[in-house]
Amino acid sequence: MRREFWINTVLIGGLLGVVVLAWLLDEPFIITLSTKVVIFALAGVGLNLALGHGGLVSFGHAAFFGLGGYAMGILASHAQSFEPLQLGPLVIEGSKSMPVIWLAALAVSALAALLIGSLSLRTSGVYFIMITLAFAQMIYYFAISWPAYGGEDGLLIYVRNGFPGLNTLDPIQFFLLCAAVLGVCLFLVDRLVKSRFGMALEAARQNPQRVTSLGIDPYKVRLVAFVLSAAITGLAGAIYADLNRFVSPAMLSWQVSGEIMVFVILGGVARFAGPLAGAALFIVLEHFLGGLTDFWQFWLGLLLLLVILFARGGIIGFLAGERRHG
């Protein structure tokens, strides 16, 4: 535990150090790369709640990542064109304000997770994996074939959305904003894992029959965890779309589900800073291996395979030893 604490400190300190250095040396690209690490880590923090702590192997978290992205894209595009969004009798004004967009992304992905989760959680094991994958694919195909918001081509935003009191176009300010969001989410998830609810979730992962026999409904506990998990990943999606000023069905694709899972696994399942370590390693590999060979994903696959076969705790597990429970 002590050791993991120090590893986490070094990890977070290292990332901040890199960014400060890049800022001093005026290297905005490195800052943007670090922003990407932070956003991917946030998506991973979301999945880690369901997968690591709840044992819910969702292979469909791209659905929430992408829905968050589209929440940003749709609101911003309506604000851009000054045409409100009409949903039957409901008229929604577009918005270029991040807090509003984030709330929308949280709500949309939570709602989708409520629907998908309430069906998927009726099953377990392999069925759950395949069904979450299938539902994500459904939303993917819907996004491709629905022409109103760009269909296959996606949706471009001209200017990054704003946050009160900040200039989000300045890379360092945007990075710090993203890092703050990640910090808040890490803190909240950490408290949640150690709360009554977290205890019930962990117990439901280990022995659902036992939990039932104590008058606690594992289905409800899991559904709430799944919804919260999806909301965090959805928030990450909205911020990621803002980073790129672009959202497309690619954000909803099954590869993205796999990649979010890779962040969690490479870093270490159910570890506090696992997703951050995993996302950082992923970006470093993409950047450096990608510079050496066009086929860097082959090596990523090989690394992932070796981690799964021989180093099951991920990076943090490898460095910090066995995970302490409770």
Binding site: L188, G198, M199, A200, S213, G215, I216
Partner: protein, 250 residues
């Protein structure tokens, strides 16, 4: 007239051609221990699962406090006051003893959806958990992980968890299995003390314990109850003797 807490009426369950339970009638009254015995494969587990709500009966019904439970899910049965322990120890093995009990207290309080406060700083949760630990003499083992407990201690912990729910009836599935003679003695004393608080349906292979504890005994053979009676009546029944011939002698 003593109140009937739990009653099974014409309960039947088939698995393909096999009738695991065939029109089982059985009741559990306030203040008694009612033991269910029978050779292996007689359908005791199937019966327990139907009472707990893990499988639905093909015919008949389970009544608890006068209410038909057939459409009630397992978790709601527990909340209604039907406590149970499992044949094979069923605990949260990566939790400590105290954490297991805290989970049970949480179930009893029905306050699971608290997301922020650390459970380690939850005074009511800890106090009640400690209270139940003390009742079963486990207070010294509070911080031990379940995976390091002895078999007998696990059984005690399971009992403590079942009692933490303040049940109106208890289903105990072979509580004496594998706990050794000393453990059996302790468990027997505990159950004898408990029955005034909560009526117990006891499924058990240890005949000495059954005859020492049970107010009434039902014998299940090939899915049917062939006899319900006092220990004396069961001991002297030729029918029961025959059913057990070649099995363990009562």
């Amino acid at each position: 007239m003593v109140e009937t807490v739990l009653s099974l009426q014409g309960l039947s369950k088939n698995f393909g051609a096999l009738a695991a339970n065939n029109e089982v009638n059985l009741d559990l009254k306030q203040g008694e221990i009612h033991a269910l015995i029978g050779p292996n494969g007689a359908g005791k587990s199937t019966l327990i699962k139907q009472i707990a709500g893990e499988i639905t009966p093909d015919a008949g019904a389970v009544y608890f406090a006068g209410q038909n439970l057939n459409a009630v899910r397992s978790v709601k049965r527990v909340r209604a006051g039907l406590g149970r322990t499992f044949q094979v120890s069923s605990l949260i093995t990566e939790f400590t003893v105290e954490q297991n009990l805290m989970l049970a207290v949480m179930g009893a309080q029905q306050r699971t959806f608290r997301f922020f406060k650390r459970f380690t700083q939850d005074a009511t949760l800890r106090q009640q958990a400690q209270h139940h630990l003390e009742q079963l003499g486990l207070q010294g083992r509070s911080d031990v992980r379940v995976s390091q407990l002895s078999h007998g201690e696990r059984r005690q912990l399971e009992m403590a968890m079942a009692l933490a729910l303040k049940p109106k009836a208890l289903l105990l599935d072979e509580p004496m299995a594998g706990i050794g003679p000393g453990g059996t003695k302790e468990m027997t004393d505990l159950l004898a003390r408990l029955k005034a608080q909560v009526p117990i349906l006891l499924v058990e292979h240890d005949m000495a314990a059954v005859f020492a504890l049970a107010d009434r005994i039902s014998v299940l053979v090939y899915g049917r109850i062939i006899l319900t009676g006092t220990a004396e009546e069961i001991r002297n029944s030729p029918q029961v003797q025959q059913a057990y011939l070649g099995e363990e002698a009562p």
